[in-house]
Symmetry: C2
C-alpha cells in the first residue's frame, strides 16, 4: 500500500514537472544545452571561430586597463566578472569619474552572447562590434583606436600571442583586438539549476522555485523575458506609463522606442535595476515591470514567488584564472589621466 | 683530452656560480626558500595563522569594490594582481578620480610581506595594519569603518565564511576584515629564477644574468636592496642630491628622512618608478639611483647588465582564480559616488 502511494505521489510530481517543462517550452523559454558541442554551436562566431588561444588572449585584453586612455579602466571595471558581470552602480562611471551621460546602467557581460543585439538601444549586432564602443567612448575608457593598437603592439608578448592565435601574418589592429575581446565574452555563459531542470533533472529546482517559474509564465513575464537569455530581444518599453524612474536620464530606446530586454540570468547579482539603475531591489523591479509592461498589480505572494524563481537563475560561472599581463615597454603609451 | 677540458670548464663554471652564491649571501641577499614549510614560517602571522579558509575569504574582500564608498574601488584597483601588483600610473587615483595628494606611487603588493614596514614612510608595521589605510583614505577608497563592516555584514554568505574561518562567535568588525585582507596579501609571494639560482640550481640564471647579479653587488645596489625582498627596510633617501624628480610631490620620508626601500622583485612589471613615479624606464631608475644614492655614474654596459639581472626577478605568480562575490542585499549600503 505504502509503495503504491509513493508511486502515485512520485508519478504526479513527475507529471507536474514534465508539464511545467512543456509550459516553459510553450512560453519560448530555452535552456542552455548540456552538450558542449551544442553550446559551442550557439555561442561561436563562424567568422572567427573560438579557440583556446584566442580566448586566453581575449581574457588578457578584457582585464588590461592599459587599453584605456588613463591606464586604469578595463572592460572588467564596469563588467566585473566577480560581481555578476556588472558594476553595481546606477550608471557607469568612467574616465575622470564621468557618469554615463544618459544615466545608463552597465548590462552584465555574462550570457550577453545570447542577446539578439547589444547595448540598451540594440545599436550593435554582436559582442565584437559592441566591444569597440566603451573603449572609445569619452565617458568610459576614452581611448582612440590608435592608442589601443599602439599599446598592444608595444608588448612583444601580446604580439606573439596574436600570432599564435591567428597566424604569423596577423595584423594586430584595433578591430582584431576588439574581435578577440568579443570572442572571450562569448564564452561567459552561466548554466543554472533552471537549465538543469529544463534539461530533464526534475529535482534541480525546489517546489517553491517550480511554483515561481509557473507564476513567472502565468503573469506574463516570459512574453519579453524568453529564449536562452530570458531576455535579449528588442521590445517596446512602455514609456507612456508613469514610470517612477523615468525622471532620471534621457534614454528613450532606439528610433522606434524599442529597448533591449535585459537577461534575467544572475539577476539577483546585478542590482540596481532598469536601464537607469533607479530600482534598487529585485522585488521592486518585479512589481514595477508587471505594472508598467503588463498592467498588473501583483500580490505579495506572486512577487515573492517570481523572486524565488529568479534567484534560481544564479548561474555557475566559468572558472577564470586572473591573467598575468605582459609588462609595459618603453613603446607603451603613457597613461593620460586628463 | 676533450673530457678533461669539458670537466675543467664545467668545474670553473660551477665554481663561479658557487662563489657568486656566496657573494650574494655576503651581500645579505636571501632567496625565497623552496620548502613550503620554511616559506610559511616567513610569511605567517603568529597572531592570526594562515588557513585556507581565511585566505579564500581575504581574496574575496581584496577584490570587493563594495568595501569602498563608491562601490567601484577595490584593493585590486591600485594593487592589480594582473599588473605586477600595482597600477602603472605615477600616483594612485582613487575616489572621484583624486590623485594621491603627495603624488605617491602605489607600491606592489607582491612580496610586500617581506617589507620590514609598510607605506613609503614605513608608518605601518605590517600588512594587516596597512590594509586599514587606503580603505579609509578619502583620496583612495574613502570608506568609513562603519561602511566596511556594515557592507560585509549585510551579506549572509560573507558572515558564514567568517564563521567558517574564525569560529561561530566571530565578530565581523572592520579590523577582522582588514586582518583577513592582510592575511591574503601575505600569501602573494613570487619566487623567481633568481631564487632558484641562490637555492642551488646553477643553471637557473643565464650567463648574462649571473654577470648582472655580480654587477648589482659590485656597484653597491645590494647595500639597500637586500634581504628576501631586495628591499623592504627603511633607509635614507639622499634628498640633498639634485633629483631630477624631486619637484613633484612633497614626500620627504618619515620624520628622520627615512624611506622604505622598494622591493626589486617584479620590478620590470611595475613602472613607473620611485616614490612619485617620475622615472619611466628601468634603465633610467638604475642610473638615477646609482647617481643619487651611490654617487656613481654607471657605464652603459653596467646599466644594461644590472637591468638584465633585474628582469630575472620576474616571479612566478600564485594562480589566482577570480573570486565570485556574494550578491548585495537590501541591507548593503548603496554606493556613494560623491
Amino acid at each position: 500500500m505504502q509503495k503504491i502511494v509513493t508511486s502515485l505521489v512520485l508519478g504526479s510530481s513527475l507529471m507536474m514537472a514534465s508539464s511545467l517543462v512543456q509550459d516553459a517550452a510553450n512560453a519560448a523559454l530555452k535552456p542552455i544545452p548540456q552538450s558542449q558541442t551544442a553550446l559551442l554551436k550557439l555561442i561561436d562566431n563562424p567568422k572567427n571561430p573560438i579557440t583556446k588561444e584566442k580566448v586566453e588572449l581575449g581574457k588578457k585584453l578584457y582585464f588590461d586597463p592599459r587599453l584605456s586612455k588613463s591606464g586604469l579602466i578595463s572592460c572588467n571595471t564596469c563588467h566585473n566578472l566577480s560581481e555578476g558581470g556588472d558594476d553595481g552602480v546606477e550608471a557607469a562611471i568612467g574616465h575622470k569619474w564621468t557618469m554615463n551621460p544618459h544615466h545608463l546602467n552597465s548590462p552584465t557581460v555574462y550570457n550577453a552572447v545570447f542577446n539578439a543585439k547589444q547595448f540598451w538601444d540594440g545599436r550593435s549586432p554582436d559582442l565584437e562590434d559592441q566591444a569597440q564602443g566603451p573603449i572609445q567612448a569619452s565617458p568610459e575608457m576614452a581611448a582612440t583606436k590608435g592608442h589601443v593598437s599602439k599599446t598592444v603592439n608595444s608588448m612583444p608578448e601580446y604580439v606573439a600571442e596574436f600570432k599564435k592565435a591567428y597566424g604569423d601574418d596577423v595584423k594586430v589592429s584595433f578591430e582584431k583586438i576588439t574581435d578577440t575581446i568579443g570572442l572571450f565574452e562569448r564564452t561567459l555563459v552561466t548554466p543554472s539549476r533552471y537549465d538543469d531542470f529544463l534539461n530533464g533533472d526534475k529535482n534541480a529546482l525546489t517546489k517553491e522555485e517550480k511554483q515561481g517559474l509557473k507564476t513567472f509564465i502565468k503573469v506574463g513575464c516570459a512574453s519579453c523575458h524568453n529564449g536562452l537569455g530570458l531576455g535579449g530581444e528588442m521590445n517596446v518599453l512602455n514609456v507612456t506609463a508613469k514610470y517612477k524612474y523615468m525622471n532620471v536620464g534621457d534614454f528613450k530606446g532606439d528610433k522606434n522606442g524599442m529597448v533591449r530586454v535585459p537577461t534575467l540570468r544572475n539577476i539577483n547579482q546585478t542590482a540596481p535595476y532598469f536601464h537607469n539603475g533607479k530600482i534598487k531591489t529585485l522585488r521592486g523591479a518585479i512589481n514595477e515591470m508587471a505594472r508598467i509592461q503588463l498592467g498588473k498589480k501583483l500580490s505579495a505572494k506572486e512577487t515573492k514567488s517570481i523572486e524565488t524563481f529568479l534567484k534560481a537563475l544564479d548561474g555557475r560561472k566559468p572558472n577564470i584564472e586572473m591573467p598575468m599581463l605582459p609588462a609595459s615597454t618603453s613603446k607603451t603609451p603613457a597613461p593620460e589621466l586628463n
